[in-house]
């Protein structure tokens, strides 16, 4: 099976959003390569990134310790648009 297919199946097996590190560990793929591969499914609309838009406007975002550790998380983009609850504005930066 292709790695791309394995990635998609990893997401099909769970309802939880998964971080890059989680998937990378499970499939033993180098995380940076995985991130690039993930873009394939994101473009196809099969997976979407769970956004942390709350921090986008924060002045500290480039040095914010919590934000720097925030794993990029992805989830299966199903037809039903039960999007995860939007984070409150700038939760990470006080």
């Amino acid at each position: 099976m292709t790695i791309l297919r394995q990635i998609l199946e990893t997401f099909e097996q769970t309802d939880e959003p998964l971080s890059l590190t989680q998937v990378a560990r499970r499939l033993e793929v180098e995380p940076h390569l995985l991130e690039a591969m993930m873009a394939y499914w994101v473009r196809k609309g099969a997976i979407r990134e769970v956004t942390t838009s709350g921090c986008a406007a924060c002045s500290l975002k480039h040095n914010c310790a919590p934000l720097l550790t925030l794993p990029r998380r992805y989830e299966r983009a199903t037809g039903s648009a039960d999007a995860p609850p939007a984070p409150p504005p700038c939760a990470c930066c006080r």
Partner: protein, 738 residues
């Protein structure tokens, strides 16, 4: 005219390089029939004028988006003399995907490795010669577009490529036997077709197998497109996978191999300034010491350095502001009525009592912002995380807790950075033991009432106790309640150190301080009025607004609870009632104490009549003095810190040459000294630190983890706070500290 275009992923820096190359000589329009911006410019190079086209950002050359279609069609139709692939060096894997497709198209290519500075900062080292080899001998130029570094080399490469002086070998990713077989068949078909001679054959074959709808429909004769449909079916039957997924997968595998050989992450190159600093600041043991020392300085800063300004603000609120309000009410005939009591004893004492602490919080937030914006906070998180892991705690939890020092509410939301739901719950639970900014005023007022210059030590001790209780709680939760699994490894990207940006620090301080002030104008104001009402309503006999606090509704209710607190040394109803009020927000502890304690004390302060001019002059000279004293306190951090060492007695600075007296005492401070023994005061502060966090935090807990976890939190904090306060008080008595 020679045409060169820039292609690359969105945000790789194409526009930056385009602007640097063309300067003002550019023209911005739209691509025909599209709303996508088209930028063209001119550049004199090697004695001739060259047209430069900035293509829209694309991750791939499919018909996925308008940008990608435009890029693909431009390359096919305009046949530029060279293509500069602008590649983000810090994200090579993702960016090379496009490069691989450009290679398939056989366009004359130059790689501009942009963002080389970012890559270097992240310790990503790229072996350019090796990369060039892998890519068939293309020029690979390191560039920092935003600083116009590397552009001369890039221009030189452009000259070489447009003059066809660069010889490159074709580079293809092996797409696997099933796909390659079909490509070979289609290849023959395409080459035999005169109508398709403008297309690169292998590239078109791949595109048709990927089922690029619009491309298949466009080519004529449609022979090859029809053959491709059959080929796709055969591939799917044979491999059980779509052709386009197989193709993408093979490309990524190829890239994985390239990057694996070309890129080294971390540690490569000489140590940077940040690296050298990190040898101490991020060191296993030294790092912890530095962190503790910094915290010590911060609490000296917040507790002592802000004291003169605090006294100044307090003087204004207790003096002129109160007098002006009373005079105003007198003038409209409300002097001596319950309205005056509400305004003066309720609102001014309550809200003013909290506003007094603006300088304290201001200095706390300045300190936190400086630590954060300098990049230090990430190190603190790393160091403390290692420290806590040694205690058997899971990784990363310290971060939300660090955030909790500012305010617990965002600390709880910051647990979202944890992946495991159990870890999140545990961490949120612990975060409320981190002493937030709103608790600080209580420590400061008790500290200066009972411990004078040593109050910084009290504050530090309380913060440390909070962390200690969190550690113990965490052990309890991970070992007994959740029986947690292995700790997740801690991944944090350490940003390079930098001088804090005054604007960022200012914004941070402003947004937090203004929230505190806003709180004072809303929550605290409302709570003050409610507390005043509860204090004004008599129980049994008495008259509205004329009753002694102890006989009011508030006093009577608090008296019921007070005995529970006696073992901790503060069984008076006044203490119990401020603790109840503190549930709304911890600042309210101060405002309710101001109302309760000073309501009675005010009577014996003789009113000195003064004019508005005198008041204003007093405020100004007071500020001048406060500034001088602030300087003195900053200087005194040094002797006070050294004096911790036993036997050392470094004298402290005394700028104004005043004797240490109680003249700067606020009314509340002297009232507190009568109501509490020093030991009871410490126990009371321990209780404040540990008991139920404010309403907003409890609400955040509920929102994130549900009512059950919230209730558990409330119950647990109450029990722990009571136990700890009793332990401190009774233990102190046993040691003879009473």
């Amino acid at each position: 005219m020679v045409t060169i275009c820039l292609a690359g992923n969105p945000n790789a820096g194409k526009s930056t390089i385009f602007n640097a190359l063309t300067g003002a000589r550019q023209h911005v329009g739209n691509w025909p029939g599209k709303t996508v911006e088209k930028k063209e410019g001119r550049l004199w190079l090697d004695g001739q004028e060259i047209a430069i086209v900035d293509l829209p950002g694309a991750y791939s050359l499919s018909a996925f988006s308008a940008e990608e279609t435009i890029t693909r069609d431009f390359l096919l139709e305009a046949q530029p003399d060279a293509v500069v692939a602008v590649v983000d060096a810090a994200n090579l894997e993702r960016n090379l995907y496009l490069v691989l497709q450009l290679l398939e198209m056989r366009v004359p290519l130059i790689i501009a490795l942009n963002m080389s500075d970012v890559a270097e900062n992240r310790h990503i080292h790229i072996d350019r010669e090796r990369l060039a080899e892998w890519l068939g001998g293309l020029p690979v130029i390191a560039v920092i577009g935003s600083r116009e570094i590397g552009l001369d080399a890039l221009k030189e490469a452009m000259v070489q490529v447009t003059r066809r002086r660069v010889i490159t070998a074709p580079v293809y990713a092996d797409l696997g036997p099933a796909v390659e077989r079909e490509i070979a068949a289609l290849h023959g078909l395409i080459e035999a077709d005169a109508g398709l001679k403008d297309y690169p054959a292998r590239w078109l074959a791949i595109k048709l197998l990927e089922d690029e709808g619009d491309l298949g429909a466009r080519i004529s004769p449609p022979l090859a497109a029809a053959a491709a449909a059959d080929a796709r079916r055969r591939i799917a039957d044979e491999t059980g996978e779509d052709a386009d997924t197989l193709i993408a997968d093979a490309r990524y595998r190829f890239l994985g191999r390239v990057v694996g050989q070309v890129v080294t992450r971390a540690g490569a190159g000489g140590p940077t300034f940040s690296d050298r600093l990190d040898r101490v600041l991020a060191h296993r043991r030294w790092g912890v010491l530095v962190f503790l020392a910094l915290m010590w300085i911060i609490f000296q800063f917040t507790a002592n350095v802000s004291a003169p300004l605090l006294d100044w603000v307090d003087g204004i609120i207790a003096g002129p502001v109160t007098r002006w309000a009373a005079a105003l009410l007198d003038a409209v005939g409300l002097g001596g009525s319950w309205v005056e009591s509400l305004v003066v004893d309720g609102i001014i004492a309550g809200v003013g009592g909290v506003l007094v602490f603006v300088p304290v919080l201001f200095s706390l937030y300045v300190a936190l912002a400086v630590l954060e914006d300098s990049g230090y906070m990430a190190r603190a998180a790393l160091v403390m995380d290692r420290f806590m892991q040694r205690l058997g705690l899971h990784g990363k939890s310290f971060l939300p807790m660090l955030v909790g020092f500012g305010c617990n509410v965002p600390g709880i939301y910051a647990t979202r950075t944890l992946e495991n739901p159990d870890d999140r719950k545990i961490t949120a639970f612990l975060t409320t033991f981190m002493s937030c900014g709103a608790r600080l005023p209580v420590y400061v007022i008790f500290g200066s009432a009972f411990f004078g210059a040593a109050s910084g030590g009290l504050v530090f001790g309380l913060y440390a106790l909070g962390v200690g209780v969190a550690v113990l709680t965490s052990l309890l939760l991970t070992r007994v309640v959740f029986r947690s699994k292995t700790a997740a490894p801690f991944v944090i990207e350490l940003p390079p150190y930098r001088l804090p940006n005054p604007k960022t620090v200012g914004l941070y301080v402003w947004s937090n301080t203004s929230r505190f002030i806003h709180n004072a104008g809303t929550v605290i104001l409302a709570a003050s009025v409610v507390i005043w009402l509860l204090l004004a309503v008599p129980v049994g006999t008495g008259q509205f607004a004329g009753v002694a606090p102890g006989d009011s509704l508030f006093g009577a209710t608090s008296r019921i609870i007070a005995p529970v607190l006696s073992p901790a040394g503060f069984g008076q109803w006044e203490a119990a009632s401020s603790l109840m009020a503190g549930f709304v927000a911890k600042e309210v502890v101060i405002s309710s104490m101001s109302q309760i304690y000073t309501g009675a004390a005010e009577e014996d302060e003789p009113e000195q009549p003064s004019t508005l001019g005198e008041d204003l002059a007093g405020i100004v000279t007071g500020l001048g003095e406060a500034v001088v004293l602030t300087g003195q306190e900053i200087v005194n951090i040094v002797p006070r810190t050294l004096n911790i060492i036993p036997g050392l007695n470094v004298p402290e600075a005394n700028f104004l040459g005043r004797a240490d007296d109680a003249s700067s005492d606020t009314a509340l401070e002297s009232a507190l000294r009568q109501a509490f023994t020093p030991l009871a005061a410490v126990a009371f502060n321990v209780f404040i630190l540990l008991y139920v966090p404010c309403m907003a935090t409890v609400a955040a807990m509920r929102q994130e983890f549900g009512a059950r976890w919230m209730l558990a939190q409330v119950a647990y904090t109450l029990v722990v706070a009571w136990l700890a306060a009793v332990l401190v008080y009774q233990g102190g008595l046993l040691l003879g500290l009473g």
